[in-house]
Amino acid sequence: MTASFLLIPAVQGMRRTLRKRHPKVLLALIVGGLIVALTLYYGLFRFLAHVAKAPMLGPIVGPMIGNLLVARFLEMIFLALFFMVVFSSIIAAFSSFYLDDEIRLLIASPIGITHIFWSRFILMLAESSWMVMAFFTPIFFAFASALRSPWWGYLVFLCYLGVYLLLPNILGGVLALTLSSFFPIRQMRKVFQFLSALVLAMMIIFFRFLEPEKLLNPRYFTSISSYILNLRAPTMEYFPSAWVQQASLTLFEGNLAGSLMTAWPLAATLLAGLLVLHYGAKRFYLPSWQASLEAVENQVLSLEWIRRVLILPFRGLRREHRVVAEKEVTIFLRDPAIFSQIFMMAAIVFVYGYNLAILPLKDLPSLYSGEINDSMVYFNGPFIGFILAAISMRFVFPSISLEGRAFWAVKASPLQPSRLMWVKFFFYLGPIWGLGLTLCYISNMLFKVTNPLLHWLSYVNVSLMAIVITALAIGLGALYARFDADNPLKVAGSFGGFVFMILSAVYVVNLLILQAYPLFRLYFIRFYPLTQPAAKVYIGLSFLLLIVCTIAWVYIPLRQGKEAIERYEPD
């Protein structure tokens, strides 16, 4: 009762945040989110349904091995999910248990320490798991559909997922309590931010190196047939991922009683975990919180030489613009989580490059290989766009919010806040554009593009995407600025970050649609000459519309962002 009472301010804050949004915007976002979830669900469902049948192995062996493959895949996802949530929950626990400002007030109040702890645990749970839950639910539903689950199987599965997500959170909570009893809390958070990114990056790379697509390609079948025979045995028999996988598979078969029987170790572990955590909180929470007050942040000014090198290019700028750029570099380098995030992004870029390198383009019939390679350039655009958007979401989108409560200094100065926004736009455009062009150059090299039109068009597309994505990140970053947030990850994972990702995807689709017709006609000009005048008009109109749309995609978010920061009134 008391623990839930302590959650009232957080719930009220959330309701206030939601009320601030325009109902139409909210509706558009819900619809957008549902479309993304449905796309994810449907795409994966089709893939899994295909894998479950494994038609290349024949009608008898195929479904048998296919279902085993799907089951193994499900276990891998559960396992990966577990470790991801453990690490994110430890980081969330450090903030929620120790670093949030309101804890001082709660500790000073006559409320039992375990009530305070459980209220903080629920906040931690919400912070570390809401996005995972939102993202993974359509994925798991795709598994359920591919394995032909009855309708009630989905509902029961949600309970399993909830229980399963509680376990890594409990483990994260116990680890945070234990570690903070022995080590300075602020340093621990940094270490775990780094470690979590490292583990996630390694998981991405590891999974990529497994080359799961080989499981479906008959060319590789003889070499992996022995491996498939081993698929029946779970990877980690005594781990919750195996229990929840077994319970889910039985559930999807329509056997509720059997599934519940299989799930008992999960429930027993949950109960034991809750008891351990409760005891741990009672015994260690207050002393470890008190110890966290004594741990003084001892930031060493390292990497000063890198900072000096990085600020050199801004020497030629006007003084008021230069100081903004220099401050951006300085704060960027002193963010303790920055290197883990860079590492994470590097892993995504690496996986992208590796994916291109192992594409089975050499298996294509030679007659069409040139055309297919060329068309890959066109379809590669969205992937580069996605990488640029993901990187911008982490580094560019939070940049206005990171001005933080110190933003009054800019607002009280003669520098117009909109100029600050423009400086930030150009500051981030350079690296984002450079990265886009580099990725484009590498992919064009790997695709061995023969058509000069497509070759140059890919660079133009990447440039347009870089400009629009940066403008969206800065503009929406200002529109949805959270000047009270100290952690860029929180800003990136906020409602505004979600809007940014959706709109970036919409622009990329917009770009591809507007180019589809002219490209088709120009590429196949040797087969279908442009004899009709209407075709030329359509091509011209498409490119004109593309230019107009791109200008609008840059202008509107920056304009909205400018108005938002000019309107902004500090608390």
Binding site: Q299, E320, V323, V324, A406, A412, S413, E569
Partner: protein, 253 residues
């Protein structure tokens, strides 16, 4: 500094109900009022951080709304809560602020060093601001606000969090600035500071200026000859509390 009929409305709540005020150069003006009276709102309006719903602010002849750059370049502002860029050192922060005001680098560094030495922060110049106490941050904010040698200094609660020695330094420094012809607009709840330093004092209550003038004028207005500022403040704000709202909104200035 001239304020004409400044109003600020938040939804249905009227935080400022028409403030008129003129402060000549070289005056140290004290601005007092109970919590929630509208002091910080007015300060934020006259530093250009927020816009008034109606009214005009003129700073050294420049309209703050239509010529914000010209007006803001003449003001230095020290907020009540010194939120600064925590990942910068004081010297880096000064460089940044000096850049915002387009000051020459050398002038800014020289002035920054002078201010840090005055506030006994010189040995902390290479440390990140995040490791500073509230009082130290307050001193950094005050130093930064003076880098461009503003004609008007607006200070919200200057002595909160400062040790007694620093309070004395600040008081002497304010006197020195006024002596050099600078204008200071100061809010404080430490009435002894206001009484000791200010040439004129304004008292705001429920968004209305309920009293304005020198100590003698205020004593007269409160019908309490010889009283100290604390008694005058309590009497005026209590009287206003007792009056019906319609009467309470009439400006006293």
């Amino acid at each position: 500094m001239v304020l004409k009929d400044i109003r600020k409305r938040y939804g249905t709540f009227e935080a400022l109900k028409g403030i008129d005020l003129a402060i000549p150069a070289g005056e140290l003006f004290g601005f007092l009022g109970p919590n929630g009276a509208g002091k910080t709102t007015l300060i934020r309006i006259l530093t250009g951080i927020i816009k008034p719903t109606a009214g005009q602010v003129t700073i050294c002849g420049a309209d703050l709304l239509t010529q914000p750059e010209a007006a803001k370049s003449r003001i230095g502002y020290v907020p009540d809560r010194p939120y600064l860029y925590e990942k910068l050192t004081p010297l880096e922060y000064f460089d940044f602020v000096a850049g915002l005001y387009a000051l020459p680098v050398e002038q800014a560094r020289q002035r920054g060093e002078e201010m840090l030495r005055r506030f006994a922060l010189w040995e902390w110049r290479e440390e990140l601001i995040e490791s500073f106490s509230h009082g130290m941050k307050q001193k950094v904010a005050m130093s930064a606000s003076l880098l461009h040698d503003p004609d008007i200094l607006v200070v919200d609660e200057p002595t909160v969090g400062l040790d007694p020695r620093s309070v004395k330094v600040v008081r002497d420094f304010f006197k020195d600035l006024v002596h050099r012809g600078k204008t200071i607009f100061l809010t404080t709840h430490t009435l002894s500071v206001a009484e000791d330093l200010c040439d004129r004092i304004g008292i705001i209550h429920h968004g209305t200026m309920v009293a304005l003038g020198t100590m003698a004028t205020l004593q007269q207005q409160a019908r309490s000859p010889g009283s100290d500022l604390e008694s005058i403040f309590l009497k005026i704000t209590e009287e206003e509390e007792e009056l019906p709202p319609a009467t309470a909104t009439s400006p006293a200035a």
